[in-house]
């Protein structure tokens, strides 16, 4: 197992796909689609192989690799995954082929470059895999920053009418966070060269540092603000509705479903074990922000008139749950938080995709352009409902297990916050059922009520490609809803170790 350089391969395969796409002559640019799909499926198979080769009782970092990179800085290109990273890698592996297939017609020739679109998606996949598989802080930082570039171009070149504004906003927000993080990364390096005699960026080596509580706070904040912007937590959230509303649907799926998870992932993987004392100091504030975000995001979701913005705001609420789980510092809540990252990726992915199905039929994302659609598209209505039920964490869908773990794990230490968060499940039901009623239930809107009108003829039920796109997600939503324990078995040991590091570095 250790002999296969799995993660290098996973990172390289999409880039190989990019190279192939680059070599395509212009008249064969449509071939970019199958190439991208092929590369994404190879990566998917690789993550499946990783999954089945995973040893839940194995070493902390599995599939480790190390290459000389910048020895002068004590930084090596080291890869590997603990259980937390493994499930995130698997999430990326699942989502990208679905997104490629879903975006099949989103970059029409003539208007935009088909080749560039699919190449950018592959580049993004490669970098996302890198950010999750990095076990060197500098490598993590580099991937964290460079990830912005393909996302920036995907939004600014292929997005909606206000794409430039949204893309620049996204880029600036992320850049500010990244710079703060860079300062902290350098700070860590300086401390390591003081304490270890030789500076290093190796995550495992940095765990052994003893950082005084005041310094911890500053370094913690550098990382945390970067992650809080990425996740996003309120009040750093306003870029997300713009970005995900302007991005093409597939890109929104990757942005909210996978890329943003780097934020909460980073909080758990880097902030907690490296700066335990600071994490304890700031936890009450962060939990306050998280819980506020749960209610704030949910209430704002109901106030939206645009479906994509609505879904974006629901995600802010869900990120609040995840951050609550991360900063509750219990095994149940932490495991639930990681499971929620996966589950939210699946359910928000499904939700965005279904919204995309609807938009493609009406050329509008305004809720008021829909109404009574269940009559014309019963299958899409059914899929929409399942995705929505997952978003409101109904038992039997994936999100329930994660939300339950977070809440029951957080309750012991943070009763008031957990009670407020639990009240959030009412609001979750509100925004999902409200959206569903407005779009699917009730009488048909007048424009669609005339049988042979062009608008009506444009509304058809689910296509074969859409079935292929959505059914894996629906399947996983239901499977993980009924039987989440195998995933928990992968996550839990890593969370336990992270919390152990937290307690050591906090000195409590």
């Amino acid at each position: 197992m250790a002999h296969v350089p799995l993660f290098s391969l996973l990172i390289a395969v999409p880039l190989l796909g990019v190279a192939l796409i680059a070599l395509l002559p212009r008249r064969a640019e449509q071939l970019a689609k199958p190439i991208a799909l092929g590369a994404a499926l190879v990566v998917f198979s690789g993550t499946v192989a990783m999954w089945f080769g995973w040893r839940t009782d194995g070493p902390r970092f599995q599939y480790p690799e190390s290459y000389t990179w910048i020895p002068q800085f004590g930084s090596a290109f080291t890869l590997g995954a603990d259980g937390i990273a493994a499930v995130m890698v698997a999430l990326v592996g699942v989502l990208v082929p679905i997104v490629v297939l879903a975006s099949w017609h989103d970059a029409e020739p003539g208007k935009h470059s088909v080749r560039a679109f699919f190449a950018l998606v592959l580049v993004l996949e490669s970098f996302m895999l890198g950010v999750f598989a990095a076990t060197d802080v500098l490598v993590f930082y580099v991937f964290f920053e460079v990830m912005l570039v393909p996302m920036y171009f995907l939004i600014s070149s292929y997005g909606g009418p206000r794409r430039q504004y949204a893309a620049v906003k996204f880029f600036l927000y992320s850049l500010v966070g990244g710079l703060l993080m860079l300062a902290s990364v350098i700070g860590l390096y300086a401390i390591s060269s003081n304490q270890l005699g030789k500076g290093t960026f190796s995550f495992e080596a940095l765990l052994s540092l003893h950082i005084d509580p005041v310094t911890q706070r500053w370094l913690f904040l550098g990382f945390f603000i970067a992650f809080a912007i990425k996740a996003p937590l309120i009040p750093f959230h306003t870029w997300l509705p713009d970005a995900s509303a302007q991005a093409p649907i597939g890109v929104s799926v990757l942005l909210v479903g996978a890329l943003d998870k780097v934020g909460t992932y980073g909080m758990l993987r880097y902030c907690l074990p490296l700066f335990g004392s600071a994490a304890y100091d700031f936890a009450p504030w962060i939990i306050g922000l998280s819980v506020a975000g749960i209610l704030y995001g949910a209430i704002l979701a109901v106030g939206q008139s645009d479906m994509k913005r609505l879904v974006a705001y629901t995600s802010i609420a869900h990120f609040g749950f995840i951050a609550l789980g991360v900063f509750a510092f219990t095994a149940q809540a932490g495991t639930g938080a990681v499971l929620y990252m996966v589950n939210h990726g699946l359910s928000v992915g499904a939700l965005f995709l279904v919204v995309g199905f609807l938009i493609s039929r009406r050329n509008s994302s305004l809720i008021s352009d829909f109404g009574g659609m269940a009559r014309l598209m019963p299958w899409i209505a059914g899929v929409f409902l399942i995705a929505g039920l997952s978003a409101l964490s109904l038992p039997g869908t994936n999100s329930f297990a994660s939300e339950f773990l977070i809440l029951i794990g957080a309750f012991g230490a943070h009763k008031a916050a957990t009670i407020v968060a639990t009240v959030g499940i009412i609001f979750a039901a509100l925004f999902v059922l409200w959206l569903y009623q407005q779009t699917m239930h009730g009488p048909l809107i007048p424009e669609l009520a005339v049988t042979d009108s062009p608008a009506r003829l444009a509304v058809r039920d689910i296509t074969r490609r859409e079935v292929a796109v959505i059914s894996p997600l629906i399947g996983l939503i239901l499977l993980l809803g009924v039987y989440p324990q195998p995933v928990i078995d992968v996550i839990n040991p890593a969370v336990d170790r992270t919390l152990a590091d937290l307690h050591i570095s906090s000195g409590r």
Partner: protein
Amino acid sequence: MSSILDVLWLLIALPLGSAVVLLLAGRRADRWGHYLGCATVAASFVLGVLAFLALQARTDRSVEETLFRFLGVGSLKVDIGLLYDPLSAVFVLLITGVGLLIHVYSIGYMAHDSARRRFFAYLNLFVAAMLLLVLANNFVVVYIGWEGVGLASYLLIAFWYYKPAAASAAKKAFLMNRVGDVGLALAIFLMFANLGTTSYSGVFAGVGNLSSVTATTVGILLLLGACGKSGQFPLQAWLPDAMEGPTPVSALIHAATMVTAGVYLIVRASPIFNASPTAQLMVCIVGAVTLLIGCIIGCAKDDIKRVLAYSTMSQIGYMFLAAGLGGPAYALAILHLLTHGFFKAGLFLGAGSVMHGMKDQTDIRRFGGLARVMPATAITFGLGYLAIIGLPPLSGFFSKDPIIQHAFDRPGWSGWAFGGAALLGAGLTAFYMTRLMVLTFFGRRRWAAASGGQLPEPKESPWVMTAPMGALAVGSVAAGFLLSNADALSNWLAPVVGAPVESVAHKLEPLTVTWSVLGAVMLGVVIAAAMFARGTARSEPVTANPIVLAARRNLYADVINEAVFVRLGAWAMRVLVFVDSRGVDGTINGLAAVCGGTSARLRRLQTGFVRSYSLTMLVGVVAVILAFSLAVFR
């Protein structure tokens, strides 16, 4: 040797599998879907009977079965596990038995609906979720079933989703249930925080270690959950609106089974409530208040299904009252739940039959004299009517009378209050049910006048509908006697809720109570018959006394909800949307504008002339030297 008790999961898997098949098969299953739906519930019923017999043959009447680990993190271990004991056995029979009858009835009732297959899929989904709820062996699995039946209820209320009223009613039901679900969820968290487990056996064994405050809190949170599911005060307003769903749904879900889940939960958690007299008192108060609310509003409604809905609310109030009294009254709550399951399901199916004959008319002011044209419906409905008002020897008498008796027996002022409320409720029940009966089946044929002779004479429903009504009527007549004879049900449930003990001293003699109840019932019947024997106005009189006006408006429950939650919520939402776009985002955009402006000004400094740069450098060097000197030579 493998016994039926080893494969209890089949009870749930059969209807669940059928639901999945019906939903995925699409239109191909339109021709046979309803048969599959009925067949799987029938199979579950047969398995339920066999399991019941197998349990009876055992000395320890409790079988636990762990299917698989659902969540296991650290000390939290939650299994999908089933518990089959006397209490769940009774519920399995009720759910699958009454469920089967209503499934069969639906074949006829939904025959002309193009989405009948989808209807049966949802009904099967409901049966599966409800069975999971009552067969669970821990509180998390109860919660799963609890929200599962909520989903089925949502889907079925919104079955005719193109009707805005149906869509809104479904959403309202789900949301109000979620308020209750928060209570149930928090109760589970509290159990885990204090006892480290969520299983029945673990929690009930550890109740003694709980502080009384914790036990009371858990009890009240469970009660909140129960109120949501069972349409009890203060979460009752969704239940009448739920009548927008097809009538078989009202019969099965919103009368016989799902809405009684709250009673099940309280009886199941009896060890917790036994540990907290305060929580028990709260249960009694909720029950007594709701039973009166239901009766009062029921008297003022003119829609046949809404009258029955408020009646359901009120009868479940009796069950809550009994469950709150505790001790021997736990079994009475279940007894009333079972008899109510028969007669209320029968009444609803009868109402559906009437609507079928009357072209979906639900206004009882437009009925009248239907006994002649729909004799089977009139007889079965009539037996259900006699049962619900508590006429001996029909089943309602055997279940309601002892509840009132026990309510009076409660020591102190509360006994008089609860007993009095229950007694008053019995009289009011007789009044509104008699009104319903008389206006629908007797007197002048107001429907003939209403349509000016246009409406064809209503016909009796087909046998596929009347046969289930007949079966439920038999239950309405006989179930009470059979179940209470020689304390049959109390003894059967003894392993779960404790052995029946005859309370030594009654505050009031049993015969006194019985005669008072019968007197109140007779009074209600006579007044209603006298008032409505000659029919009623076809529209509401404009002036009426304040109580009637309030009752017609559901005692202002919707007005209060609208004012407090909907208006306030919408206002908060608008404020937040404004704050988010102008405040939070505006600050950021403002910051960006400031940065942009600053950089534009800074750009002007980059003139490209070396001399201006060197001047700047000179100024800088001087400034640094000055600062240094000040710091050093201070």
